[in-house]
Amino acid sequence: MSKRKARDAHLPVGECISQVQEILRKRLCNQQLPDRPEGVEAQHKHLLELLKRTAVHGESNSVLIVGPRGAGKTMLLKCVLRDLLMEKEAQKNLLQVHLNGLLQTDDRIALQEMTRQLHLENVVGDKVFGSFAENLNFLLEALKKGDRSSSRPVLFVLDEFDLFAHHKNQTLLYNLFDVSQSAQAPVAVVGVTCRLDVLELLEKRVKSRFSHRQIHVLSNPTFRQYLERVQTQLSLQPGDLPDDKFAQHWNVSIKTLCEDKSVEEALQRHYNSSKDFRSNHMLLMLCLSRVSVAKPAIKPADLLEASRMCFIDAEANMLHGLSILELCLIIAMKHLNDLYEGEPFNLQMVHNEFKKFLQRKSNSMYNFEQPVIMKAFEHLQQLEMIRPVDSSTAKTQREYQLMRLMLDHTQVMEALQKYPQCPTDVKQWAMSAFG
């Protein structure tokens, strides 16, 4: 044992880093399931209990898991399923059908997918069905076992549940809930959605068949918990790495990272803007990507840099790359916006505003022809920094089409500060209150 350890301890740093990267990337990118879902223990218990009743006792149920994006709804469901399948009886009996609102965009496709997932293609064959309900009943009928009169329990998981409500007549939902209400085959319908008002989307006849059981996943950790979460996300479990020494070293470095004052401040800012898992993962992923052999630990500076990247204003970045002419046009638009309180403008007005600026100057380094300005204007439109007010482009000439600026006053000013080699007169023009 001690001999092996001694050998393992000699793993080169590169090897260790590579393994750390692999483990953490699985966690952060592939959403590897944690051993215990944290913060949602009550919901976990509730859902597990519910599904167990279907799987083991043949009870029908329907439930919705509601929560904002990235709060861990799917993680919760997957954890529950994993725990459920540990039970022998459930594993033997339970059939699963996973549907996703993004993929199964209408009921016909959904039914095909259901048939496929239940491995009933052969049974259905070339049969022609009169209605959707008939088809679904046939499917469930086919699942009945020979020896008992009861059917095998089926679990339907509907991801992006709200999208199913847009299907024509909500036939799928109606039939699934109908089956779950009446004492036909035991089914459990689990909907996962991010819309809190999802019940409003359901038709009356569908709504009345739903059990109105909702599980809310609102991850609302305190800042302490949030910090701990960051730490556990980045730490290694004992046994993850063959090289214990390195693992310990890594964990210590993570601990000191989380205790750093500046890091805490940065995390506080993230905590204030969003508390979900996904955005947290993105931040940590950016940190992790900066770890290399030359720098085998996450330093506070890495996290600060990653945090800066998360909060960066994309619009300002794009403004930075505009040419002087385009920037001048943006400034002219900003002035027009200030002057006419957000009324839409057209190219002629912008050009006129720009000309007013040029007239005040003696040298004419920005003397551009109208078509050149038009091209710059169209480039801005292509970048969607300005948008036409109405889309009927055919009837009006391009230079008279009304536009709106999609940028903020402050965004323009900030971008101007950062702009490389911005001429002072342009800067002053932008600062001045009225043209």
Binding site: G14, I17, S18, Q21, E22, R25, K26, C29, N30, Q31, R69, G70, T74, G101, L102, L103, T105, I109, Q112, E113, R116, D162, L163, C194, R278, S279, M282, M285, L286, S289, R290, S292, M309, I312, A314, E315, N317, M318, H320, G321, S323, I324, L325, N346, Q348, M349, N352, F368, E369, P371, V372, K375, A376, L383, E384, K395, Q397, E399, Y400, P420
Partner: protein, 445 residues
């Protein structure tokens, strides 16, 4: 320089060749590489790269994926007029043509994911597969579910796949109403002037010295940099104008080092190029021809916009002029312009301050047919009878899109029109019939 491109998962030599092909983009390539990680490790499910046109987004990715031999599918969303093409291309480059042929006719997302899963379970990814979507902004216009589904494709197909979206529009304009999986945002900044100079100087002509060519690039950037920062466009302009730049050298008038004289020679040409080639009014072939012509005739070189003219019948020209006047003058001023003995109109009353000059800013206003005809009869110098030929000329002006009909076409008794030509155009037209239009325009009184 190449120190930034180091990664344990890849061979040193390959990274060297990558670095050589990516001048001035080392930071971005390094960043991307570190996000991608080693080939067998998971990468972030979706990465959104944004930056201006020709800031090297596609190039960097293409070079990285190709040189490092990572499994990838590059899809340009412009080419994919239907999602079927997109799916086919992805399946084709990952699993070969057999898998692509499994797609049914007009496949849905569900079919695509099913086939992908089926194939990837047969040949699981040993290395991260990358799907690169160029011009991703077009994905918004197709199926509403496509973009959210692609963003979380890794989860849907349960394979080590990463989707990389490239666009020049910021992510905020992509986000659907109910939100979606947020991709990792990565910005490719524009090239600075120095970097542009560096890159442009690389494709120099072998028969001239380095200094000479970079002096040329310097002059070119001096003229165009304030208008255009697009590397591709600048490169095109550089290639086009270089022969002109070398001309005095070939004639032996100037030495290579005499940059000032060379500048004096080329500057007017570049200015002209800005008015023509840059605006794509003439093709580069036409531009070269025009330059040769100019040498012979020594005439002024003008863009297409300067000599756009349409041959119109005599009365049509006047109709167009009348339409222009009706569109850009307020109706109450017609009396002042077109009635011979209009009596006294007070000047202060006539010229309302805020109304003045605003007509040409706000664009043409619609006018009824009666007003058009009334103005037409007063501007045309001979007596014209209101015959069918006049009316048919109006409708042919509409078909030529010089006028647009504003009211519905069913409305026969009082149709309304708008003039849709520019100021320059109408001035050119009125010059041909010796009509001084400026005198009749309210904005220019």
């Amino acid at each position: 320089m190449s120190a930034l491109l180091q990664h344990p998962g890849y061979e040193e030599e390959r990274l060297q060749t990558v670095a050589k092909q990516l001048p001035c983009r080392e930071v971005q390539a390094g960043m991307l590489l570190s996000l991608m990680g080693q080939p067998h490790q998971y990468s972030y499910p979706s990465i959104f790269i944004y930056g201006h046109q020709s800031s090297g987004k596609s190039h960097v990715l293409h070079v990285l994926l190709k040189e490092l031999e990572l499994p990838h599918a590059t899809v340009s969303c412009v080419e994919c007029v239907s999602v079927a093409l997109l799916f086919e291309q992805v399946l084709l480059s990952f699993f070969g043509c057999v898998a692509a042929s499994l797609l049914p006719r007009s496949p849905s997302l569900s079919d695509f994911v099913r086939i992908y899963r089926q194939q990837s379970s047969q040949s699981p990814a040993k290395q991260t597969r990358y799907i690169v979507m160029e011009k991703a902004e077009l994905l918004r216009d197709s199926n509403a579910n496509l973009l959210p589904a692609l963003l979380r494709l890794q989860e849907l197909v349960e394979d080590n796949v990463s989707v990389i979206l490239l666009s020049e529009i910021v992510w905020d304009r992509f986000r659907p109403n109910t939100g979606c999986f947020e991709p990792l945002l990565l910005h490719f900044p524009d090239y600075s002037k120095g970097e542009l100079q560096h890159i442009l100087a690389q494709d120099r002509n072998p028969s001239y010295s380095d200094e000479f060519y970079s002096a040329y690039i310097n002059i070119l950037l001096g003229v165009f940099y304030s208008v255009c920062r697009d590397l591709r466009e600048l490169r095109h302009l550089a290639a086009l104008n270089f022969s002109k730049f070398c001309e005095p050298l070939a004639e032996g008038k100037v030495k290579e080092t005499d940059t000032h004289k060379l500048w004096r020679n080329i500057e007017p040409h570049l200015k002209k190029a800005m008015q023509t080639v840059y605006l794509r009014e003439v093709s580069s072939l036409q531009w070269e021809k025009m330059q040769q012509m100019e040498e012979k005739e020594n005439g002024a070189l003008r863009g297409l916009s300067a000599h756009t003219h349409v041959e119109l019948p005599y009365y049509s020209k006047f109709l167009l002029i009348a339409a222009y006047l009706a569109s850009f003058n307020p109706a109450r001023t017609d009396k002042r312009f077109f009635v011979k003995h209009h009596g006294k109109i007070k000047k202060t009353n006539f010229l309302k301050k805020n109304e003045k000059t605003s007509n040409h800013l706000l664009g043409p206003k619609p006018f009824p047919l009666d007003r058009l005809l009334a103005i037409f009869y007063s501007v045309v110098d001979s007596r014209v009878a209101p015959t069918a030929s006049i009316f048919s000329q109006i409708s042919s002006l509409v078909t030529l899109q010089l006028l647009t009909q504003v009211s519905h076409s069913e409305q026969l008794d009082a149709p309304k029109y708008k003039c849709a030509v520019s100021m320059d155009f109408i001035c050119a037209i009125s010059r041909t019939v010796n009509f001084e239009i400026i005198k009749y325009l309210y904005d220019f009184l």
